[in-house]
Amino acid sequence: MTNTLKIDALVVGGGIAGMQASLDLADQGYQVALVEKNPSVGGMMAGLSKVFPTLDCCSCITTPKMSAVAHHANISLMTYSEVQSVMGNEGDYQVRVMKKPRYVIEDECSGCRSCEMVCPLDLPDYDNEYGRGAHRVIYVPFSTAVPQKALIDIDNCIYCGKCLKACTTNAIDFAQQPEYVNIETTSIVLATGYKTTPYDAKKEYGGGRLRNVVHGMMVERLLAPTGAYGRQLRPSDGRQPDNIAYVQCAGSRDLTLGVDYCSRVCCMYAIKQAMLLAGALPMADITIYYMDIRAFGKGYEQFYENAKAMGIQFVKGKVARITEDENQNPILRVELIDQNSRVVERKHDLAVLSVGMLPGFDPNSMYGVPVDKDGFIKAPNPNISPTLTMREGIFATGTATGPMDIVDSIITAGAVAAEAAAYIQSHNGHRQLVAEQTERSVTHA
């Protein structure tokens, strides 16, 4: 089955940047389609606990936006969908989108999760809990997912039929096939986001090998009220940690990994997590090993000062290696930059790698949009027009254009909406409301 959709803007990627860009375009009266490859919108932000610098609960910021994109009259939301091909010319793109089969009919599913409750097999939840939690073979991705619809991990299904019986709306369809939607659009906004640097990339740090070496996103899940443990536990044995180390620049500013840039958020999220952990585990010692603390944003320096005042230890040092003792306590070998590079060993019971950001997607082959040497989308005029790409009619926003935090992602989403709107306006022959032109004058009085 194939449908055709005529729109003004196609937004690819439903993280905070893509959602905000969609809303800002739709609020101006433009028709938008938002395509997200995952079963829910929200992106990385949906997995965070509380967010710096305001310490708002992250869900309070993101879930309403998730809901808004699903309900906005001018937005067609396509989750669990991927762009298959992009054809046509500047200002007139033909895009083919595949909706992957959920094996659950979206319009029928009420999200009641009766199916999930009767499904017999638990699988590690890699997508949302980094393997620390579980979901069933048929499942709703997470409690605040939008849409709140089940899907089946078909490769792990034994076809026992329990879900079929439990479903009250006959929504399950094992024979479901991919559906295709043809989209004709004036503009495209790439908001394909980031992924974190793999925490096992730097072998010396033991990520993936040492059980109590975790990464920043895992700690977000430890701190989130909806996280798998619902507690702050270390993965090896479920103990509450009481001596936690943060290793900054684990996968950023590191030429050996080919990531020579700063990932911009890790200082702040480490400080944030340290404060939240200190709140949840008042007895715990927390040390942050860093090269430079980059608390540059509005209100960020004060946030850093608050953390110091709370007793979080900041040690200027480069962690060279992490090993573990017989109780699986990580032992950090640290070069203390502040002390003429003296090398010491420090024992902790949980080590967090402050992993950085890598581009989430390379749009070159599909969209003809090249990336820069850092792998993020190349900007022809980064100072004045930060959301342009090398291809006319295609724009980029959020972390697809380089590491940034939520505030900056939201700002660039507003900017991309302005840039795309102006493009659509000129392309669609001022078919929208055009203000009467008045005589232009630069007055010098």
Partner: protein, 685 residues
């Protein structure tokens, strides 16, 4: 228009109230026993259903409300959650989607008003939450459907400030088909960007980039620009601001061939602001060559009107008797893009003003500029500069009690965000211009955070810049070197890259990487009733939810008026501001809250008391009516001008005027309910 009211006291349908208590992911739930609160409230009369939920604002949470409205016939909604600033709109739209009037929902703040402030006393907090919710439920019994006030909006925006942010937002708004007026206080466009030699992260010539932007702005038919212009008065509200602009005369009109001569004959010599005093100018001058508008301008403050320039200029070119002019604008929205000013160090702060060899980073930019006062040669006092120390965080990341406060008592405890990369970029430029120079970089943390910024840091290392690290508590000292020394200054630093040793650096020049301060805009703050934050930059409503909007509807922020930003960030913010303006004005209509005064025609006897006490201009008038042959006077509300303060309701002798959505009967019911007995519950904690 708000509904005409027939029955002041009685709601007209049986209230069926849905009650929802949000845990806010633990923000509320970890203190307030939300499940219990919901259960207790479920027992109150008219409450049809009562829930507690992890995240009411999430889609599942909203669907709960929608389902209850559709399936359980709920016709009043009371939600206890975070602050209504955050999610009132979210819940209103959910209620509306279910087919209910969005004003039949009331929001109780259980986070800011309860859980956050009483986190040390969960029991009392739970009690307070319950009572506040009881108040909300009592109000809900009296709530009536309301309609927002809809008004025509001018499809015209005013941008204040012609720096890169103002230019960029003007362009984005105009490209959307709206009219834009841009006013700039100085006599040229571009703001600070025009002063920089090269800009990171592209290492492009700043004025080349700027020129491209200005040309695009000039080519845009929807934009009108006034330089030398400032706002002097404002009135009105979103969609309909009336603004009076005052434009200082330029005195010179257009270019003429012997301009140089006209300048040369001027007897007045002044410090050239554009070069931060590194050069001088006349009282007839041009900010810099190539500026827009490009004609010369008279410095009225210092011009003695001697007329020498007039004599040499072609007839009519220069008018020293030109008057300022004032004119009115009607606009739907305003963008504040008033920018920043560099921090001015205090006398003696790291040698500032005490030693002439101490300059700021902004001055260094001018010094290294090919078109600057020394034609880009790295000379100071006529001698080539050899060794330089750059000191970071001057006027940024200050600590109370450690740093000397400014005259107004403030210290700048924020990071200025651009100085690190700007310093790295300049350090490398120095090494290019003076390959033998030693450059010392004295920092706290190097914050080259942005895309491409780290390259500048690495490059500085490659250029053999020497780094030293100080702690804020131990500010480096700059002093005069011995007569015999061959470097005039000595910088003393306790360096934490080498065991905290104190190191003395003999240098020719000290560069203070001064941070950013907001441009002083107290007048605009007063006129538009926007607020500055603790850092004195203009304050947004919420850094994530509404990052470029102010608390005043229709007034948005762009660029460094809001906080330190680089050019890229200023332009992104400007685009975001333009998006908000476009969304607001493109329909030609704005909606205002319906919480405005309403007059009960039965009771109003035209006493005029309300008008006497109304603090708003033109919100209330006394009008004469004739009905059935009887002529009488009655108060009439102009909703657009009413801010719903309720003073009128307090002074009316006949209880004939009230505020829609906040009527006296609602208040009375709330007060009574809050002090009421909490229903008993088995098993309640």
């Amino acid at each position: 228009m708000p509904e005409k009211d027939e029955s002041q006291a009685k709601p007209r349908e049986e209230p069926r109230i849905g009650v929802y208590v949000c845990n806010c992911g633990g923000n509320i739930g970890n203190v307030v026993a939300c499940d219990n609160v919901a259960r207790v409230l479920g027992k109150l009369p008219n409450v049809v259903t009562s829930h507690s939920h992890m995240f009411m604002c999430s889609d599942p949470g909203q669907n709960l409300i929608i389902d209850d409205i559709k399936e359980k016939g709920v016709n009043r909604v009371v939600i206890g959650a975070c602050s209504l600033f955050l999610h009132e709109q979210t819940f209103r739209s959910a209620v509306e989607r279910a087919g209910l009037n969005p004003y039949l929902y009331y929001h109780v703040g259980l986070r800011e008003q309860v859980s956050w402030v009483h986190h040390d006393n969960p029991k009392e907090a739970t009690d307070k939450a319950t009572r506040m919710m009881m108040g909300g439920i009592a109000k809900a019994r009296y709530m009536r459907p309301l309609e927002p006030v809809r008004l025509d909006a001018g499809k015209h925006a005013l941008v204040i400030g012609g720096g890169v942010a103002g230019l960029r937002s003007a362009l984005d708004i105009a490209r959307r088909g709206l009219q834009v007026t841009l006013i700039e206080k100085s006599h040229y466009l571009g703001g600070h960007m025009a002063q920089w030699e090269r800009v990171f992260p592209t290492h492009q010539k700043a004025r080349v980039l700027l020129k491209e932007l200005i040309e695009r702005v000039l080519a845009e038919p929807n934009i009108t620009i006034h330089t030398g212009a400032q706002v002097v008065r404002t009135q009105g509200y979103v969609g309909n601001f009336q603004i009076k602009i005052r434009q200082e005369p330029r005195g010179v009109h257009g270019a003429f061939p012997n301009e140089q001569e006209a300048v040369a004959v001027c007897p007045i010599k002044q410090r050239r602001e554009f070069d931060y005093g590194l050069s001088t100018r006349k009282a007839i001058y041009r900010a810099y060559n190539g500026c827009v508008p490009e004609s010369l301008v008279i410095d009225w403050e210092n011009c003695t009107k001697c007329g020498e320039c007039v004599k040499v200029a072609p007839e009519g070119m220069i008018n020293l008797n030109e008057e300022a002019r004032e004119f009115d604008l009607k606009v739907g929205a305003v963008v504040l893009a008033t920018g920043f000013k560099p921090y001015e160090p205090l006398y003696g702060e790291m040698g500032w003003k005490e030693f002439p060899e101490v300059i700021t980073l902004a001055q260094l930019h001018r010094l290294l500029d090919d078109e600057g006062p020394s034609d880009g040669k790295f000379y100071w006092n006529g001698h080539p500069v050899r060794d330089v120390a750059i000191i970071h965080c001057v006027g940024s990341r200050q600590i109370e009690g450690v740093h000397r406060p400014q005259p107004d008592g403030n210290v700048n405890n924020y990071c200025s965000r651009v100085c690190c990369t700007a310093s790295m970029s300049m350090a490398a430029l120095i090494r290019q211009k003076a390959p033998d120079a030693k450059v010392y970089d004295i920092y706290e943390d190097i914050r080259t955070y942005g895309r491409g910024h780290e390259d500048y840091y690495r490059n500085a290392g490659k250029e053999q810049v020497t780094f030293l690290r100080y702690f804020a508590e131990e500010i480096p000292e700059v002093m005069r070197a011995d007569e015999s020394a061959d470097r005039p200054l000595l910088v003393k630093v306790k360096d934490h890259l080498t065991w905290g040793e104190t190191i003395e650096l003999p240098v020719d020049l000290v560069v203070l990487a001064t941070g950013m301060m907001p441009n002083p805009v107290d007048d605009l703050i007063g006129m538009f009733k926007v607020s500055p934050g603790n850092d004195r930059f203009l304050l947004e409503v919420h850094p994530k939810l509404r990052p470029v909007e102010t608390a005043v509807n229709g007034i948005v922020l762009a660029g460094t008026a809001q906080g330190p930003m680089n050019i890229q960030e200023s332009c992104a913010a400007a685009g975001a501001a333009a998006s908000k303006v476009a969304a607001l004005l493109i329909q030609g209509e704005v909606e205002l809250e319906p919480f405005v005064a309403v007059v009960d025609p039965e009771r109003c006897n035209g006493s005029g008391k309300c008008i006497e006490h109304c603090p708003q201009e033109e919100a209330l008038t006394l009008e004469t009516f004739t009905e059935n042959g009887r002529t009488f006077q009655r108060a009439v509300v102009t909703p657009a001008n009413c801010n719903g303060c309720g003073v009128c309701a307090g002074v009316c002798p006949n209880r004939a005027i009230d505020v829609a959505g906040w009527r006296l009967d609602e208040f009375e019911a709330m007060v009574e309910a809050i002090t009421d007995e909490i229903p008993a519950m088995e098993g309640a904690i």
